[in-house]
């Protein structure tokens, strides 16, 4: 995926190497010399895609629309909406002994969809290259493929395991809401997906993995700027 993005960003001071005690003092004095910017996303996304599992018929047309119409190739792996992994044996699946969902269970298929997390945005915070940014006017959290080095740190930081990795481009990729007209929603033959105004669902959805994100010192320091 190649995009020319006009990023809006909230700029923070780079304050690495300074004693924590000194931050507030320096900030309040407005000292800015010798400091580069750090991206911390605080703006909310305008919308997000939500799925109704009782309606999902498991055809994966959403996965196909996501990758074919955006990337020109069909690939379940890089799809930013994830059906296949829950399709056969459910969300918790065999490893937990709870394979009661999916085709082999009661038929329920949970659509895994990017939550467009509110601040703090784990994938963006974990990116050492500030490659996950917001794209106006929708403010979806998107991967700036020019900056992405393919280190996969974002993948390990997303509690919902929603970051995909495209081995053709060697870049991470994630849901960018198709700039407000999500292809997956348009493609669903069962009205099981909706594009709605953003609301915080992150706490009501069980996480998939324990994120093991490493936040850079610079960002930690920047966080401290607000969270004193």
């Amino acid at each position: 995926m190649i995009m020319n993005l006009n990023f809006s960003r909230r700029q923070f001071l780079k304050v690495s190497g300074l004693a924590i005690a000194g931050i507030s003092a320096l900030s309040s004095l407005g000292v800015t010399y010798g400091m580069a910017e750090v991206i911390i996303i605080t703006e909310q996304a305008e919308g997000l895609v939500i799925g109704d599992p009782t309606k999902c018929v498991g055809c994966r047309r959403c996965e196909l629309a996501c990758t074919e119409f955006n990337d020109g190739k069909a690939s379940s792996t890089i799809s930013r909406i994830k059906i296949n992994r829950n399709l056969q044996l459910g969300y918790l699946g065999l490893y937990t002994g709870k394979c009661d969902e999916g085709k082999w269970g009661i038929g329920l298929i949970i659509q895994d969809i990017c939550k467009q997390c509110p601040h703090p945005v784990p994938c963006a915070d974990a990116c050492p290259n500030d490659a996950i940014v917001i794209k106006p006017p929708i403010n979806a959290r998107v991967v700036d493929s020019d900056k992405c080095t393919g280190c996969k740190m974002c993948q390990r930081s997303c509690p919902w395991d929603m970051i995909s990795f495209d081995s053709d481009t060697n870049k991470a990729t994630k849901c960018f809401l198709c700039d407000g007209k999500p292809k997956c929603v348009e493609a669903c033959p069962a009205e099981a997906l909706k594009y709605v105004r953003w609301r915080d669902l992150s706490r009501s959805v069980p996480t998939r993995i324990s994120p093991t994100s490493v936040i850079s010192q610079e960002k930690i320091q920047a966080c401290m700027g607000c969270h004193k």
Binding site: C59, R60, G72, A74, S75, S76, T77, N86, K103, S167
Partner: protein
């Protein structure tokens, strides 16, 4: 060589005898045959000598997908399984089965267009394919398990995303009437061929991509266009009841969604509602095959529709029937479509509470539970019809000994108690006893074993037995002579749906005739059901078109149960479909520009190769008399109504002779023998094939 989209690019070859795993370039070796059955027939012709037995290590089994598998082209979930067919009687010949589900897409994402399995392993193995990593694994631990458990075990090792195609106990025990199944309910024949090779299952996980050659905007447009032309299952284009948006309706249509009709077993229930064809976000609600086959009671058990990758038509219905858990201790959830759905029910003549009753639904659930775990095939319903005839005509009693006879609860069978299936089906899979063994052999071999003449079977119209051990599959009952011609061509039941999808699409005969005139040159190509007219050249054209599109779909990995798109639900298009949709999708996906005529040309090459293999392996060119035969019941009528009178499917012998003449003529085959001529082989670049046949004296 130019890079193509669509195809994954490689064909995987696994020699089970040596353990050697290799790949071939799809484009270099198989492009002229596209994929699917095309690759299958090519391998059988090139590599499997005639007189090979189905269960011999020299037989090969080919899992073929095509360039559209795994893409967003609607209805692309098929994997064609080609091999020497073990139920083909009196001599096994080449045939193919068509497995839906998610196997095809996963195989493509792993980087393969097809898998050729050859040889025989010393001990049970299963094949794992994880992108480039392909391994044979010990399956001794899995041998003896059902398909359900086998799939779980393999998913445990390969992860949740892997698609697993496995055989059950029937395949292991070399029961010819056995299947391979993936994704719960998607089956195709050939289970015992896998079993004979000691191959329990294939697990595949692909993380790669299928590339679309054309511009993504154009692809998106093409996909949406195709979706806009879709009807319900079998491309029925009108709803089954009057709907506000509809001009026509047909109670026999599989488009059964409507206001007030709900997926009741979903929590909460979901209304299927009015599904205006312009609303592409409600296509999945149109069909519910459980209700279509089992009646309105099935609504209350419907959880949702299910089906293959990329298909918005969900022809498999997931049912939740709590009573079967308490009565039979089997899971209350089951799913399948058509033959699979009816598997259990079709054994019984009556049920205590009527034909479309609660008990009949329970029989379906028990049938699916066993058939899709043991991996038993029903030969398009002939297994069940055979069984009923054997019992009710008293034949069975004379063929098995008393002790065995008494080991079955015939009172349960006669009453329509689904519990009877607990006695019968596991025994078929185990070849346990004379009855079960004979049933599992397939009709032809069963009759031979029991010294019953095939003619006796051909005489009974209720059996719908056609030839070579298999039944009719959309023959004269589905478009007169056209269906008959189609049913003469294959070595198993003809699985062609091109004609029946048009005939049963639900449009008034006048509209059908208008469309027929555009597609095949004259309104006379089609007749109203049960009001047939004498043969004409346009019917021969439609028969040929039907067969070519079937082969084309099997090669592209499109579903011939949904195509071709010969009509649409769109009034503004005059209900026209689009005859060139395959060419549009093929060209955009692969980048290989081919018109629909050019694609039909490839399809004809594939069909011709199928014919050549059949001629070679039968060892005769006398196809017209030895192969393309028609059972007598086609020429009879219960009330002795004369052919071409209204209300009969009866065909006329002389007229059918003319029909076959016209068909051979259209195909460029010799009319006397029904064998393709040298010129025809050459026209389709199969000159080398013709040469080999010539050496054996098999050219006309």
């Amino acid at each position: 060589m130019a890079k193509h989209g669509g195809w994954a690019g490689k064909v995987l070859r696994v020699d089970l005898s040596t353990g050697k795993i290799s790949t071939e370039n799809t484009i270099e070796k198989y492009k002229d045959f596209i994929g699917g059955t095309g690759i299958g027939y090519k391998v059988i012709w090139d590599e499997v000598p005639s007189a090979t037995k189905p269960f011999s290590p020299e037989n090969k089994i080919i899992f073929g997908t095509g360039p559209l598998a795994g893409t967003g082209a609607p209805c692309n979930g098929k994997t064609a399984i080609t091999t020497l067919w073990p139920t083909c009687w009196p001599k096994p010949l080449v045939a193919s089965g068509h497995m839906g589900g998610h196997f095809a897409a996963e195989l493509k994402y792993a980087g393969y267009d097809a898998i050729i399995i050859e040889g025989k392993s010393e001990h049970p193995v299963w094949l794992s394919i994880e992108d480039a990593r392909v391994e044979l694994n010990d399956a001794r631990r899995l041998w003896g398990l059902g398909i359900r458990r086998t799939t779980y075990e393999i998913n445990l090792q390969m992860g949740h995303e892997a698609s697993v195609a496995a055989i059950g106990q029937a395949g292991e025990n070399l029961v010819p009437m056995s299947v391979i199944i993936n994704s719960v309910s998607h089956s195709a024949g050939g289970g015992a061929v896998m079993g004979s090779k000691n191959l329990k299952a294939i697990g595949v996980r692909g993380t790669g991509s299928v590339y679309i050659s054309g511009k993504k905007e154009e692809w998106e447009k093409a996909i949406k266009f195709h979706l806009s032309l879709l009807g319900a299952n079998n491309q029925h284009v009108v709803p089954s009841s009057p709907q506000p948006w509809a001009e026509y309706y047909s109670p026999g249509s599989r488009w059964i969604s409507s206001k007030g009709r709900n997926w009741e077993a979903s929590r909460p229930p979901i209304e299927t509602g009015s599904c205006d064809p312009h609303n592409l976000n409600r296509i999945a609600y149109r069909s519910n095959n459980a209700v279509f086959f089992l009646g309105n009671d099935a609504w209350k058990y419907t959880v949702r529709g299910n089906g293959c990758t990329g298909c918005p038509i969900r022809c498999h219905t997931i049912l939740r029937v709590p009573s079967v858990y308490s009565k039979y201790a089997i899971p209350e959830i089951g799913q399948n479509t058509c033959g699979g759905l009816n598997f259990g029910r079709a054994f019984f003549k009556t049920f205590p509470d009527g034909p479309k009753s609660q008990t009949s639904i329970e029989a379906c659930m028990v049938g699916m539970h066993f058939a899709d775990d043991l991996g038993i095939w029903n030969n398009y319903g002939l297994l069940q019809r055979d069984f009923q005839k054997l019992y009710y005509d008293g034949i069975l009693k004379t063929k098995i000994d008393e002790k065995e006879y008494k080991s079955y609860s015939w009172d349960k069978f006669e009453k329509g108690d689904p519990g009877f299936l607990f006695e019968l089906l596991p025994r078929i899979a185990r070849k346990d006893g004379e009855l079960a063994t004979a049933l599992g052999m397939g009709t032809g071999y069963m009759l031979e074993r029991w010294g019953i003449s095939e003619e006796d079977w051909k005489k009974d119209p209720a059996l719908q037995y056609w030839k070579m051990g298999h039944p009719r599959h959309h023959s004269n009952e589905d478009s007169g002579q056209i269906g008959v011609i189609i049913n003469t061509q294959y070595n198993r039941d003809a699985q062609c749906h091109s004609h029946t999808n048009f005939i049963r699409n639900g449009l008034p005969i006048e509209v059908q005739k208008r469309l027929a005139s555009e597609l095949w040159g004259s309104p006379d190509a089609v007749d109203a059901t049960l009001a047939y007219t004498p043969m004409n050249i346009y019917k021969a054209k439609m028969a040929k078109w039907s067969l070519l599109r079937k082969e084309l779909h099997d090669a592209l990995a499109l579903c011939n149960w949904m195509g071709p798109i010969s009509a649409s639900p769109l009034k503004e298009r005059g209900y026209r479909g689009d005859d060139s949709i395959e060419s549009l999708l093929y060209t955009l996906a692969t980048g290989d520009k081919k018109s629909c005529q050019e694609l039909d040309h490839v399809a004809e090459r594939i069909l011709l190769l199928h014919r050549a293999i059949t001629i070679r392996d039968m060892g005769t060119k006398e196809m017209r008399t030895m192969h393309d035969t028609i059972p007598d019941w086609v020429f009879e009528d219960i009330k002795d109504k004369s052919p071409f009178s209204k209300g009969t499917n009866r065909m006329d012998k002389e007229d059918m002779r003319i029909a076959m003449d016209m068909y051979y003529e259209e195909m460029g085959w010799d009319k006397k023998t029904g064998a393709p001529t040298l010129e025809t082989y050459r026209k389709f670049d199969l000159g080398d094939v013709a040469e080999k046949l010539k050496q054996k004296g098999l050219l006309p």
